[in-house]
């Protein structure tokens, strides 16, 4: 009997609860609203009760990372008043896109309960391919861009093939991939070692272009807010019409207002500096698309199912090999996109690309953001929150003039704190019957 009793609001106890362990069998009649805790009362008060219950039960979601981010920002702002300036925040958000894109792919792989260690090297290959194709072979920028991303897709699919069809552990396949693709990148870069990109070229523009018109940032914020409200509102109307539990209007409004505050504040910050960065727009678009794919399509449901139970997925007729290969292909694709973003940032492809702490930062970002290491739990938005934490720490320490050894130690500490919180919440969830 793992039903959560401790967090039951006392007023929700029916007499049966006190007498028998398992009230649903004893209370023979069918009622529309179950008298027990997990069915939320309608109205705003019910929402608050639900929220408190979730917190107590260890269902923290993104709350720890948001609090952590706020603490980090406050600390660095108190150390150096330049931290929370528009310029610095804007630079942080552009700089995080490369690692963030890679972390989005990692979220997919972590949802299966697997790991992809090759993403750093694959990202390097994508940047190098683009540089070689455009600079050395004079290929058109768009074609080279597509081909470079496809290189990542193919590399990922190859890892997926060995994992799914041959049955090699993902850890081993992608470790081999880490070495192989790093070697491949060095090989195609050749003797020169570094290839500079055209600073006005397509890839360079990815991170250097800003929509300087004030209307762009505010317009995007407005469109996002309105679309969010309309989809929530009409979604709830449909649920009401079908007679299934729906969110109260007050909750929809609260969520919309929160989104509006965050998005308009971000827009105001960008407009104080150079405007809305193209890289951030692309990143947000990717997050919206991947989140939609994971949570609203049959494909996404299959990914979650596989992370929950392989056997159950097999019995449900899910093509397990196809899902596994495609997830690794997605991971490779996002690694390539991330690699192009990073090549764009320095307007060059060099031998150091994709090495160093990039792989660890990408995995840490996904985990810090709240994606479970054990599969089946997480959202691609986690990648945004996690990478924001990591890059904020890097920038804050750089502003203080603290060198990278200390940065590594602090980022390591944050990662440890995150997995500790994850482990503790899992325990709390177990005792509360929610894991």
């Amino acid at each position: 009997m793992s039903l959560d009793k401790t967090s039951t609001p006392p007023e929700d106890h029916t007499p049966q609860d006190a007498v028998v362990e398992n009230p649903e069998a004893a209370a023979g009649t069918v009622t529309a609203v179950d008298p027990r805790l997990l069915v939320r009362e309608q109205g705003f008060a019910g929402y608050l009760t639900e929220f408190k219950r979730k917190m107590k039960a260890g269902d923290l979601g993104s709350v720890p990372v948001i609090i952590g981010l706020a603490v980090i920002w406050i600390i660095f702002q108190s150390l150096n008043s330049n931290f929370l300036t528009a310029g610095n925040l804007s630079d942080i958000s552009v700089d995080m896109v490369g690692t963030g894109m890679i972390a989005v792919g990692i979220v997919f792989v972590l949802l299966l309960g697997e790991i992809d260690l090759s993403v750093g090297s694959v990202s390097g290959v994508a940047g190098a391919s683009y540089a070689v194709l455009t600079v050395t072979h004079g290929m058109s920028a768009w074609l080279a861009l597509v081909l470079s991303i496809l290189v990542g897709t193919v590399a990922g699919a190859l890892h997926g093939f060995f994992f799914a069809k041959i049955g090699v552990p993902a850890f081993a396949v992608t470790l081999a991939g880490l070495l192989f693709w790093n070697g491949f990148m060095l090989q195609i870069l050749g003797d020169s070692g570094t290839i500079n990109l055209d600073d006005q070229g397509l890839v360079a523009k990815l991170t250097s272009y800003y929509f300087s018109d004030v209307a762009a940032a505010y317009g995007l914020a407005l469109v996002a807010t309105v679309l969010f409200f309309l989809s929530s509102y009409f979604g709830n109307r449909r649920r009401e019409a079908a007679g299934v539990p729906s969110r109260p209007l007050s909750e929809t409004i609260l969520r919309t207002v929160l989104l509006a505050i965050v998005s308009f504040a971000a827009a105001a910050v960008y407009n104080q500096y150079k405007g809305l960065p193209l890289a951030v727009v692309i990143f947000l678009a990717m997050l919206v698309i991947t989140d939609f794919a994971l949570r609203r399509t049959a494909y996404g449901r299959k990914v979650f199912a596989l992370g929950g139970s392989v056997e159950a997925s097999r019995r449900a007729g899910i093509n397990i090999n196809m899902v596994r290969i495609s997830v690794f292909a997605i991971s490779g694709t996002f690694a390539a996109i991330g690699g192009l973003m990073m090549a764009s940032k320095i307007a060059a492809a060099n031998q150091g690309a994709g090495s160093g702490d990039l792989l660890m930062n990408a995995i840490a970002a996904a985990v810090i953001g709240g994606t479970s290491l054990f599969g089946g739990r997480g959202r691609t938005w986690n990648a945004l929150l996690g990478v924001l934490v990591i890059v904020s720490i890097q920038y804050g320490l750089a502003l203080e003039g603290i060198a990278s050894p200390v940065q590594y130690m602090i980022t390591g500490g944050v990662l440890l704190a995150t997995v500790v919180i994850d482990a503790i919440t899992r325990k709390t969830q177990k005792t509360a019957g929610r894991a």
């Binding site: 039903l3 398992n22 027990r36 649920r239 609203r296 979650f304 139970s309 007729g317 739990r377």
Partner: protein
């Protein structure tokens, strides 16, 4: 009860290498009837169920479905006929909610997007019809008790409107209260006109819900009994196969001790 059984096995045999797992097994199940399949470990219960479910094709004999002979060579064949099997390990995804698990692998879609509202509505209808009471259809399976998981797994098998439901040890490892829930559900399946094959080791459960008991012993039929008119001892002696065995000796010993 209809004259033609939903499922009839005629002289079914199955070999695995040197092992003759099933020999000339006969079994009939009618609509609206619960047939308990009992037997000791290794009697061939699981093998028999797997032949019906299409996991192991039969070597000899005939499987009749609603009076006509059919080939059941793959699990899909069985599903296509309208046979749903709930195995002992329930195979649910802990991280996905009840609705998601019920519709796993056959999600309803609307313009390519999951139709969560319709799936939730139909899930609630189905659970209501079966009088299954769980706290919410939107909580992950991990939050449910063992008995609740079992009823969700059974409800999942009902989505395809099967004519025959096979339940493999549905009450094993369940508490008293939860066992009662599952047995209630089995009775509701019968009321809805489904044919049910129930594998169980628990004689009390068998006596409680089954109409007929088919006994397997060493891969052969060892009698089909009408539950209402048969005593538990008769069934047990059919399971163990003789009047002289460990169970009867023990019973005899204890009566002697009582007499002393």
């Amino acid at each position: 009860m209809s004259a033609t059984p939903v499922l009839a096995l005629r002289g079914v045999s199955k070999r695995f290498g040197a092992v003759q797992a099933l020999t000339d097994v006969e079994l009939e199940v009618h609509a609206g009837e619960v047939v308990a399949l009992v037997g000791d470990n290794g009697a061939g219960k699981s093998t028999l169920v797997k032949t019906i479910a299409g996991v192991h094709p039969i070597d000899e004999g005939v499987i009749e479905w609603e009076g006509r002979a059919v080939q059941v060579n793959r699990p899909n064949d069985a599903q296509g006929l309208g046979i749903a099997t709930v195995y002992q390990d329930l195979a649910l995804c802990d991280n996905i909610d009840v609705v998601g698990n019920l519709y796993l692998g056959r999600e309803l879609r609307k313009r390519g997007v999951l139709d969560e509202v319709e799936m939730e509505r139909r899930s609630r209808d189905l659970l209501d019809q079966l009088s299954i009471r769980i706290p919410s259809v939107r909580i992950p399976i991990a939050s449910l008790s063992g008995g609740q998981r079992q009823v969700v797994a059974i409800a999942r098998s009902m989505l395809g409107e099967p004519k025959l439901v096979i339940l493999d040890e549905p009450t094993a490892a369940l508490g008293v209260e939860q066992t009662a829930q599952v047995l209630d559900l089995v009775e509701r399946l019968r009321e809805r006109g489904h044919a049910v094959i129930l594998i169980s080791h628990n004689m009390a459960d068998v006596k409680a819900v089954a109409d007929k008991v088919a006994v397997l012993r060493l891969g052969r039929n060892n009698g089909v009994f009408d539950v209402a008119s048969t005593s538990q001892e008769e069934i047990i002696s059919a399971i163990t196969g003789a009047t002289d065995n460990a169970v009867t000796r023990r019973a005899a010993r204890s009566t002697k001790e009582v007499q002393k």
